[in-house]
Structure formats: structure tokens, C-alpha cells
Symmetry: C2
Subunit: 235 residues, 2 copies
């Protein structure tokens, strides 16, 4: 019922085409779907192929088992279908997104951690959202590098992995080819900043407008670094 969006075809550029995201049980929904919405929109204007990679092709759920993070045993979760597995990943992966979530602290994500360690040397870019930076930190890749994370979980994570130069006040941090966003909704800002770098300012503006999202363009903007809720509960 309406005219098609303007198309900008990438020809002869080195823009990435092959994107991937890893999912593990108890990932955080918005950590994944903020960035993925951005890729979905960019993919209508530039060729993008997305792989959703997990330990098997069984749907992966955001569900937190009853316990500290689900004390009322609410049944409120979403399951997403992977397209690839860690043992049979896509060829030519160029950009990998790593979301956070309560699963990020769990021993059961070892396969995810190992996959990231294995694939990182061939990536052009690695993007983390929220405690996705903890998942990557568990590989050792972030040792001595600057990164940020969820601000409600910040202090615990900084204690747990002191070998990373954690940045306490940042919407996002770029260190080499690793882009790390703060908690949850910051995933949209770090990926829009990435879109600006790779596809240009106008493209980032178009995507933010299409999302009706008032983006933060200053990587130092971070009121949540002093949120009164402070420490501990962050996903």
C-alpha cells in the first residue's frame, strides 16, 4: 500500500554482508532485538545475511528458571529459532553480536564462550551488548582492552574479570574491532554508531527515524552509571 523505501546498493565497498548473533539460554531479549531490528531495517537497503547461532537448532529461550532472577515463577519468556549451530557455523562470518542476559554468568554457556574464542580471529567486528561483554571477557579476548557493560551489574563484573579495562561511564566503548554497549537499550546506540561508521551518517539517521528512536550519539552519555539501583540486579 505504500511506495518502497529508497534503496542504496553497496557496490565495490568492503561493507560486511555476513552478520551473526549468538544466543544462549536466559539471554536478554532487548540486547538481541534492539540490534537485530537495526539490521532488519538496514537489510532493506544494503545486502545483509544474518545467522542466528546457538548450541543446537532447538529454540533458545529468554526464560530464567525459578530462583533469584524469577522469584515469582512467572512464565514470561520468548524462544527464538537458531539458523546455525556452534559446531556447524556459517562460513564467512564478518560481524558477530553477543547479547547479555542472566545466562552470561552461567557455566552452561561454555560452548558459546568457546565458539566466540574460536571465531574471533576471522571476524571483522565483534559487538557486545550489556553483559555480552562478560561472555566475551570469559574468552580472554578482552584482557587489557577497554569495554563497558550493564551498569547494574558493573561492579560485580569488574570484580570477576579484573583483567579487562572496564569503563564505568560510557554508553558504548570501541577498542580496535570490538564495540561494547552498555545495558539493554544501549545496544541500539552502539549498533547505530556502528551503522554510522560502516554505512554512513545518513543511513544511521534513516534507521533511527524509521525506528522512531531518539538515539544517543555521545558514547560518553551514561546517566545509568550512577543509577541508585546501583549494583547487583543487572541482567
Amino acid at each position: 500500500m505504500e511506495s518502497p523505501p529508497p534503496v542504496i546498493i553497496s557496490v565495490g565497498t568492503t561493507r560486511p554482508i555476513h552478520y551473526g548473533i549468538v544466543l544462549y539460554p536466559a539471554f536478554q531479549a532487548l540486547d538481541a532485538f534492539g540490534p537485530l531490528e537495526i539490521l532488519n531495517i538496514v537489510s532493506t537497503r544494503h545486502l545483509i545475511n544474518l545467522s542466528i547461532i546457538a548450541s543446537s537448532k532447538e529454540p533458545v529461550s529468554t526464560f530464567c528458571p525459578p530462583g533469584d532472577h524469577n522469584p515469582l515463577t512467572s512464565q514470561c519468556s520468548q524462544s527464538v529459532v537458531p539458523t546455525h549451530t556452534f559446531s556447524s557455523p556459517p562460513a564467512d562470518l564478518e560481524v558477530l553480536i553477543v547479547p547479555g542476559g542472566f545466562g552470561s554468568r552461567e557455566p552452561y554457556i561454555k560452548e558459546t564462550v568457546d565458539f566466540i574464542a574460536r571465531v574471533y580471529p576471522s571476524l571483522k567486528y565483534l559487538i557486545t551488548v550489556c553483559t555480552g561483554s562478560l561472555v566475551v571477557a570469559r574468552t580472554g579476548i578482552l584482557d587489557g582492552r577497554r569495554a563497558t557493560t550493564n551498569k547494574m551489574a558493573y561492579r560485580k563484573i569488574a570484580e570477576w574479570v579484573p583483567s579487562v579495562e572496564w569503563v564505568p561511564k560510557a554508553r558504548w566503548v570501541v577498542d580496535g574491532n570490538i564495540w561494547s554497549g552498555s545495558g539493554l537499550s544501549a545496544g541500539m546506540d552502539v549498533v547505530l554508531a556502528f551503522v554510522e561508521k560502516v554505512y554512513g551518517k545518513e543511513e544511521a539517521r534513516y534507521v533511527a527515524d524509521a525506528m522512531e528512536y531518539e538515539r544517543h550519539t555521545d558514547p560518553g552519555w551514561d546517566p545509568f552509571s550512577k543509577a541508585p539501583s546501583g549494583d547487583g540486579a543487572g541482567s
Copy 2:
């Protein structure tokens, strides 16, 4: 590794427990997952059971077939697993969320439209995001009522369903028990406003902080009502 979040148990209130969302092919990812992230967080503090309702239990994809909305034939989409079907919906549904997306204009969502028409009389609240208001408008429920929608699609939708009192400049609109949000990321603001009404101001603040989201609390805030991209391409 960290202390559990504070729990506020709802006792003796009329707060809803049974939430649902409808999904249909080519729904918009953030329209669904902005609100769902909010419910996921609230569900750690108040009992919430979420049903994901679709025409069958097959995963529902955001994928837009090659054409106007996917001119480059990108393979960039996500599939979500329903918990219920339109023919066997959950009992006691109190709040229903209707996301938008390119599917909202399609004849193939008739089952979704019919389900909403059938279930609306027993709902406490109906929440739409983006062109989710078009899906609901197709039932006739919005005739003579105020609602808003995606601003890049606004004019076409207002032409298509003139029986609705469309509000051209609004982050969200409340008319009776129908809450309609503007495009994509506005879904977070309308649902946070809903959380504030139902669970209180402090709860909405907690959730926005946990999401590291700078929410818009003014329903009249809407810079996208005059986005230069204007008309047509909105999802």
C-alpha cells in the same frame, strides 16, 4: 553472582497477570520485543504469565519476502515460537499486545484480525505498537476512537481507515482501554506508561533504569511526526 532484585508481590490488587501478544508473518521485531522486554523485567517482580499467540504453533518470522520491502533479498530475519494458537488461545487473557510490521497490511493476517475482534470484549486492556493499530483498526474496534501509529506510514493508514480518529502527533494515545503507541521504539514508552499506571511510578522508573532506557514520559512528544522521510516506507 549477585543479589536478587527486590521483589514486590502484588496481593489483593486487580493487576493483570495474563498477558498475550499476537504474532503474524512479517511482524516488526522491536514492536514486539521492546514491550516484551519490559514485561520480562516486570515479571521478576510481579507475577506475569505471557502467551504468544499465532495462527499455528509454527515459529513466526519477521521475514519480508523479496519485493518492495526486501528489494535486495537479504536473509535477515528472526523466528519466534508461539505458545498458543488463535483457535486454542489461553483462558483469562487480560492484556493483549498487537505489534505492527509490513504484515499488518496483508490479507493473510485475517485470522489475527478476527482473533482480536473475538477476544477484545473480554480484555482489560489492548495495547498496539506501530502499525499494530492498523491491525486493530481492521476489526472496526477503533471506529470513532483516538489512536496513533507509525509516522512514516501515518498518511496512508489514515487514508485507508478514515473511520478512526488518528492522532498525527503523539508518542502514544490512550482511549478507554486501548493504548496505542507510535512506531517501533515508541512501544517501549507506551508500555512503560502502562506499567506506571498499573504498577506505579516507581516500578516504571525501575524498569526503565534496568533497561538503561531514557524513556519519554510525555505522550505528546513526537519529533517523528514531521520526519522528512514522511510518508510511505514505514513498517
